[in-house]
């Protein structure tokens, strides 16, 4: 965290209102996102209790599992939710543009959940569904494994910085606003909204207190509040079980209705709050480079969609050594790109980087615009040098490659020296690119004396790392002796037992 970000939190705490930390919204926000609010049963892994799902505030569908410990009901729920989500995803598999390799869908789905726990719940659900068999013992409807694989795709993609196909709303809000509370409390959607947009007539303090009172603001899940579990939910599930055992249709219907109403009371406040957060986020202008990243989402969506069309196997339980290394490299690169994009687009983020010494801005105090050098290939090329005086605490070293949001795109430079000069710092840079093709730099591509300019490090292009072929992996990194992680589909896939249901 930079001093500026930390200061924003202190300011928020002092003024008792959220402080904007970016000028733009850096995440693509679909015109038709699908919101899912998942609830799970406490103490049980992958035991969904309910979900509210829909692509408009007014038409959310509430799905409830009356007895979460019952395996059949679990998969009936997964199938119901799966149908809704697959309908939504399939509606994006219509319009393609481009030919051959470059052909891709023009839009991509976007699933929004209330918090990071929601992503985890979908990850668990995806893992639970994607290996299920659709025939034989413990067969599940066709949609279940398909849904599981898509969920896994979305969850994997969500790990990559800057993507928009699956996002927790709390993360989008905290990217834009700093509150006067801790990261832990920011994960509570109601507490976060209390700072950004407290309900009419309430102060931030009152809204914060309400946000932590489960009777006023039921938790956004996945777990429900223990008070609710013990006071309302447990007796209602017991009544359902009794009716089920007795085979009394009236009592069963009554018990189901009661459960639905109870859960609706817990889930609807969060549902409304997620949509309120979405409209707040819509009011923040989208950053210019978001469109480019969304292209990446469409590309990844198309690629996976085509893979599904070719009936490829589900994602493996765990990456192998090469897959994991490749993925890690990719994620690191995406993060560096995203951070750089944000700083390039957004002067708030740039200021943040400046305050941390990772970028600088200042005035050109010396310029040698006509400087020319001879390259190894005996070509004479322009290499102008300028010196920028800045008050920023620059922590960049010589030879760092730079880009600049204040000059035409394509501008590239490299630090020659960083010299401290009293309270200021003088950074000399050599301009290496973005000056056009002729021997004299084009007008406006070299900063002039007295010009204000900003520079930040170039995340750069990185070659794809080379790895050995999978059959040539050294024994230290192979899992050949561990059948459980090596096979794509676990042998116990169909027979993953649930054991006692009581």
């Amino acid at each position: 965290m930079s001093t500026l970000s930390a200061l924003a939190h202190v300011q928020a705490m002092e003024t008792m209102q959220a402080v904007p930390r970016t000028e733009f919204r850096h995440r693509h926000l679909s015109g038709r996102p699908l919101v899912i609010v998942p609830l799970a049963m406490a103490g049980e892994a992958g035991a969904p209790l309910a979900a509210m799902v829909g692509s408009a505030k007014r038409n959310g569908t509430l799905l409830v599992v009356a007895q979460p410990r019952n395996r059949d009901q679990r998969f009936a729920f997964a199938a119901d939710l799966g149908r809704i989500v697959m309908n939504y995803i399939n509606s994006f598999r219509q319009n393609r543009r481009g030919e051959g390799e470059r052909s891709r869908y023009t839009d991509a789905p976007q699933i929004l959940v209330p918090n990071a726990g929601g992503v985890k719940a979908l990850a668990d659900l995806g893992r639970m569904c994607r290996f299920r068999a659709t025939s034989g013992p413990y067969a599940v409807p066709d949609v279940v494994p398909e849904f599981g694989m898509w969920l896994t795709f979305l969850v994997d993609r969500a790990e990559q910085a800057g993507t928009s196909t699956l996002l927790p709303v709390t993360a989008m809000l905290t990217e834009h606003w700093a509150t006067g509370q801790s990261t832990l409390e920011d994960q509570n959607l109601a507490s976060l909204m209390a700072w950004i947009a407290p309900p009419p007539g309430l102060s931030v303090e009152q809204a914060m207190a309400d946000a932590e009172n489960p009777d006023v603001c039921p938790p956004a899940g996945p777990p429900t509040s223990p008070e609710f579990d013990n006071r309302d939910l447990a007796p209602a599930i017991r009544r359902f079980d009794t009716a089920h055992t007795l085979g009394d249709p009236h009592a069963l219907a009554a018990a189901e209705t009661e459960l639905r109403e109870l859960i609706a009371g817990q889930i609807q406040p969060t549902w409304r709050m997620v949509w309120q957060a979405i409209s707040l986020l819509r009011s923040v202008p989208e950053a210019p480079r978001t469109a480019k990243r969304f292209e990446g989402d469409c590309k990844a969506f198309t690629k996976y969609s085509d893979y599904r069309d070719s009936d490829g196997p589900p994602q493996r339980k765990r990456d192998n050594a090469i897959g994991a290394a490749r993925r890690l490299g990719w994620l690191e690169h995406a993060l560096a790109e995203f951070e750089s994009d944000m700083a390039f687009d957004d002067r708030f983020v740039l200021a943040d980087r400046r305050s941390a010494g990772e970028a600088f801005a200042g005035t050109v105090v010396e310029a040698d615009p006509g400087r020319v050098v001879t390259t190894d290939k005996n070509r004479r090329v322009p290499r102008p040098r300028v010196t920028v005086r800045t008050e920023d605490p620059v922590r960049l070293a010589a030879d760092t490659k730079l880009i600049s949001p204040s000059l035409p795109t394509g501008h590239k430079a490299m630090i020659v020296s960083v010299l401290s000069d009293g309270g200021t710092t003088r950074v000399t840079v050599e301009i290496t690119g973005g000056m056009g093709r002729s021997r004299v730099p084009q007008q406006g591509t070299v900063p002039e004396l007295g010009q204000r300019i900003a520079y930040l490090p170039d995340p750069g292009w990185r070659p794809a790392p080379q790895f050995p072929a999978s059959d040539a992996t050294p024994w230290t990194h192979s899992a050949a002796d561990d059948s459980g992680t090596d096979s794509v589909i676990p042998e116990d896939a169909a027979a993953e037992e649930w054991g006692n249901e009581d």
Binding site: M1, S2, T3, L4, A6, L7, A8, H9, V10, Q11, M13, E14, P20, T22, E23, F24, M41, A42, G43, E44, A45, G46, D124, R127, M128, H176, G180, Q181, S182, T183, L184, E185, E212, P214, T224, P226, E227, D229, N230, L233, S283, P285, K317, R318, R347, F348, A351, R354, S355, E391, D392, P393, G484, T485, E496, E497, W498, G499, N500, D502
Partner: protein, 381 residues
Amino acid sequence: MKNPVDDRLDALRGSAKRLDYNARSLAALENNPRCTLRALLDASGSDKAAIATHVGHPPSFGQSSFAITRGNAFEAMVKDNGCAELLRVLRETLELTLPEVGYEDLNDVGGDGRSKQRHERTEEVLLRAARGEGDATLFDHPMLRLLIGGHKVYLEPDLVALRIDGRFHVVEIKSFPIIDDQADSTQVRAATTQACAYIIALRDLLGRAGIGEEAVSDTIVLVAPKDFTNRPTGAFVDARKQVAALTRQLSRIERIGDLVDLLPEDLTFDLDPTPDKNKQPRRPAEELAEALDQVLVTYRPDCLNHCEMAFYCRSRARAEASLDVLGPTVREQFGGIDTTTMVMGLARGELTPSEDQVEIAAALRHAARLRAELEDLGGAA
């Protein structure tokens, strides 16, 4: 015989019944060891939940009955039929060779469930086993004992197994899942810390009979549901670091006297409960709050997850405009500064920094200038 420190601790607690440490509160020691208030309340056996409630900040973490039922059902299932499932895990998943198995139920002594009696029986059985007598290898719910600050604390691990490499191993049975060989790290950590108390108590028991601590392994066996099933799987968890940390915290409790000496003579957290069974606190809440306010607290947002006093401490931190409210990541940026007032004062240049604040003050003024620039240009709403 009571020493003066004990008298002071009793006075802090007042007329309420003493609450002893348990595996959970011992584990919590590791979470925020530097908090004086917590150390005093725990060492004096005060009822933190009752105190926090009386000053208007009731704790909010109940446990869902679903989680409890699930936990108990899973443990029962693992131990069914003389631990048949557990043995399968030990042999198949953890690939241990357990030649013969003898199961010893230590849940009660001939129907007597009192801790003291059970502890004596446990001691006898475990010592015999350690000396290689008898054929028991699995000990179900032994009752261990630890002396903490001069008070006996009874601890009850799920299971202790012998003859895994010839050593005693603590087995923790937990109902959170291990999905594709991975479990939630927070939950594993909590389970390990809890098991550490058992390891220390077990070593203490054997140590009293002159058996060295290497007889008890500092690797615990974690047994938990595999994936989304009800079938158990197992994993070894290395607890060395946490055993050392907990040992250190326990030795700090022995030095609680140092903290007590710093308190005002007449300080007490007594709720003055009515003598009937309702135990209504009669002490004015403001007076209790004043007493609490005299003790140093080290609030961290993380406390909200495990300390009953957390809401009280947070409101106190907010009232003091303490940076603790924002959590360690923000706090670390302002080394040596405690309050938002000080941060803003330095940032605006209204306060003169002390010698060791010069550097941070410069960074703050720089950040404030950047912020002002952004807002001048018409920032986002």
